[in-house]
Symmetry: D2
Subunit: 340 residues, 4 copies
């Protein structure tokens, strides 16, 4: 059986796991106050080109999103996000649990349109009754999006400009950031750091056992963040585990290599489908690929491969998602090619 | 340097870590829907003697307490706890973040007095204005307590009886449950399961990388718990990691062995202090030991050992805490004996 | 100057105010535990044809919506509502403040489409990932809607059926209930009580100084509601004031008379506009009327009348809202007719 | 029957009610954007000697406390209060509902001891683990307290100094402020305004139908307060009613007169008890008086008077509370004197 369900089906990338195993018996202080975390933070700051950025490690994506948003949003503010945003759909209302409304704007293959964000903000403040309404206090985007798509550097700059004009932070959910950066023709990690206020460098979907690294370049944000994290249940006692993994990711380019590996196999996978005449229904350049397939093809593939079924499209076809990751091999793709 | 600061300074017990390493490349579904979790749950149910108990895995203690309490407490109810309870002191208000008041009763070396709990409940309902007050909706105890002390079986039965009479659940924070069971003259894991409604079997402080296992024997509690966990940011994507570790803990008695190891070394450590005439200021039978020491002795020990300083007591003495764990060795204790 | 801005610009209807003035010096217990409240509740139960309904008095609409929804929704559930719903737009996120997501469906002139609600519920449970999503835990409608429109008896029955099938409550925001009932060709107060689980009979917009009366016919809902109200800051110390006003409303048909008065003047007002060729842009049978007017007409009207400006429509026209109430007089309408 | 249960048993003081009745048909904008509110705010600012203070009107005390505290406390901060504080006992956990812990310090007849507050703050920041704890983000006192006692001017200055040193606001719950000011030998309304950051001038217990006026002299506090109030359900649609009442209170000294009236009758009442040998068990100079009485005396009084029973004290005595207000008459006191 070959697996394309998602990018968190196995444990950790061997180099990441090795960092944990190798240092297992070393004793350190808890809660991230250790040398591994310090070194990992320094490496991340360097990779981002932001020597003064604050870096915080958390365990998972939903936790990271709701804790960061709870910090950067004013008490009753909401957060602008695409209708398809993870925080709007698949986090069980974690943003609302902490009292913030998700202000959903139309999704363009998973992306917000910068001009629509600007219009929304303009119209909000033009409305005489806006003090009775939930104010937009931040903009959330994911890079890549839940549909595998990417913002161009130009779009990122435009979103940055809108947020600056309205003095609200731009926050990037980078659950699959490495896959996005590997696939982007123009956006680099330094651009992400430059054009946003807060973002996280996803670990769980990039080959860590668990872990997400929040990077905050706006020094007015995330005050007293440790206490807020603790109250959210987001502080890992053995915080060193996160430091060890991120040190492994960033000390010699592993994070980038993982992204390139998964994206390059995703492109081979896509080509395999296209060669058979199956077009993707979303044009994703990243490690998630989306196809409409005849149901009999799906049935045949399911004999030997796992992937996500996204529901019927008409009588004879259905939509499916295939995901590659650090654990996908050339052999897996070859097997899939043969199955097709 | 030898370390007695706490029981979460190193990584994982080798047998626990090995389970993760050995199965690293196996691919499974996410979010705890995997065979490792299933087997671990079955082993835990068996160890507890509760074939129908629900078992849920979470990542850390604060997260577990606030999620479980958020589930078992009615909207505006509070939870009775000792003044010294972890939820009342060292969780940054995580219980309050989810809208519940901690109703603090006097601490008797970290323990609630069952009779005082009964009186509190009686007086609450006897008060004509109680509908204007926060109702006590659950009782929280820790086993062992934050001060290393233990409830006797008799006390546990009494608390159970009070809670039954008032129809509110009894919840046990078992962050160090294994250490408590190893030290208790009469309370077994089956007793904990029998006399309480919900409890958790702590992993982080017992030799796991991370992880806590919630066991719920009252089938009216914790409805739709997965969704609540998700909203709390308490669902681990690679949930299998928790299953693997608990399987290692419970498949052949490792959890008990770790508890016995730590407690037996704690007793040796205590004897070493007592032999020198330093009495513990709390009579703890578990892996946390508390002493009042002359300041010059503390200074001397600090040259070669780490431990927690709890503040001065008078001019010439101070209070300190020493903690043993799976990682403490006979050699560590011998070194400490020599230092004294 | 004549006023058509809204239905809460003056104090109270004279008969309602008189009840407060007449009984001013009578001393009673606080918090609604008085004979006025008891009698008002009995009158409301009788008018609703629900001898066993629970009745609770609160002060304002936002407070009532957020307190009731906080009670009837499970911890992380959301509430289905039309995109234009008051709770989704003009309550500053009060529903989210108490951790619940508003699940917005398309608005059909302010109304939910019962079939779309059914589809939403069906699709939600058909989605394999629904445990990661906010579950729809109640349906909110307003009667009349924020756009003055009304559900027919048939639509009400359909919504009731959907909610029954999915075992979730149907809640009606009746801020202007009296105006809606006066205008409806088929829905009576008894129908509202029969086909819903909870609703409120609006007072503030119907001629009370303040006050809303929650009626709950589902005896499984609103447990320990007084304590929840208190925690929400929604218990009025001098609760008698609410009882006095609702007794005045319901003891001899005043509530109905106020509704009929406002609606009949609204129809005259509408006819005045239509006679001049100005068509309403929403077909509202109730006390809110919406027109597209040439800007010069608006300018002329503004010399002598107040009303709500809803923004431009093209270059030469704009949208406006006119509202009648207990305080609108025949003379006001005659003056308006002359102005046109 | 004569009534001494509490100070909110009747409607409104005639002059207050008259302001509402007289202006009943005047039409104004809603939500407090009207001339009555503007004039009332100006009068309050003048009475407080704070020309720049922000003034906000809310409906009731619990609502006011939880909304103000939700605004002035940082996300996870708690509020220091006496154990007997209204927010700690009789508000159903409204402060916790909005995620803030009440940090209860010992009550000295209802009052905080300034030195103990200073020690608490000192010890908190001296504790190495304080980032894991709920930080004290404000100090709450009531003037007069729930037990009728008063802070001296010196104590108020000391509390102000502590709060200034730790840069946290001092907030005063003034539910009965007028009664407290009338009784205080040295504290004036201007002192309250000078030595605190936020306080409210209670209306409900001073002769208003309902209403509390928040005064904020610290211009860094209460940003965007209207929206927060709205989300809390604390904005009254017909906000003018609050303006009318406070204008009546402050335009020619009515608020002070009501306080003096109630306090002077409370002193006569106290003397009546003392003349019979019944000593108060709390030395309250305000309109609440607390006595320990023989049970047979209580039985006799209950034939002709109502008051609050506070529970037995030994076999033959019980504690009771008598409250005077604007509605208490000389004749009521004379009747009580005869009953004794």
């Amino acid at each position: 059986m070959i697996h394309f369900d998602c990018d968190y089906m196995a444990g950790a990338h061997p180099e990441v796991l090795d960092a944990i195993v190798r240092n297992n018996r070393v004793q350190t202080a808890g809660y991230g106050c250790d040398d591994y975390c310090d070194r990992a933070k320094a490496l991340i700051r360097e990779a981002c080109g932001t020597p003064d950025a604050a870096v915080h490690f958390m365990v998972g994506g939903t936790q990271t999103n709701s804790t960061v948003l709870d910090s950067i949003l004013w008490r009753t503010d909401g957060v602008i996000a695409a209708e398809t945003a993870h925080i709007n759909v698949h986090e069980s209302g974690a943003v609302e649990l902490f009292a913030h409304k998700v202000l959903a704007l139309p999704s363009h293959d998973g992306k917000l349109c910068p001009a629509e964000v600007r219009d929304y903000l303009h119209d909000f403040y033009a409305d005489d009754t806006h003090e009775h309404m939930v104010a937009p206090g931040a903009v959330y985007i994911s890079f890549p999006t839940e549909l595998g798509t990417l913002y161009s550097l130009d779009e990122l700059e435009q979103l940055h400009a809108v947020c600056s004009d309205y003095n609200i932070p731009l926050y990037v959910d980078g659950a699959r950031l490495g896959h996005g950066l590997a696939a982007s023709p123009d956006v680099t990690l330094k651009d992400i750091a430059h054009f946003t206020d807060v973002f996280y460098i996803g670990g769980t979907k990039m080959g860590a056992l668990m872990g997400e690294a929040v990077v905050c370049t706006n020094d007015k944000l995330l005050p007293r963040f440790f206490t807020l994290m603790k109250a959210h249940g987001a502080v890992l006692a053995k915080g060193r585990l996160l430091g060890m993994q991120y040190e492994a990711f960033f000390k010699d380019g592993l994070y980038e290599r993982i992204g390139r590996h998964a994206v390059s196999l995703a492109m081979r996978l896509r080509k395999a489908f296209e060669d058979k005449g199956y077009k993707p229904f979303i044009d994703s350049p990243t490690n998630q690929q989306f196809f409409t397939l005849p149901n009999d093809v799906i049935d045949r593939l399911m004999q030997a491969a796992t992937f996500e079924y996204w529901g019927p499209r008409g009588e004879t076809e259905s939509r499916v998602r295939f995901v590659t990751s650090w654990e996908t091999t050339e052999a897996d793709i070859a097997t899939l090619e043969q199955l097709l």
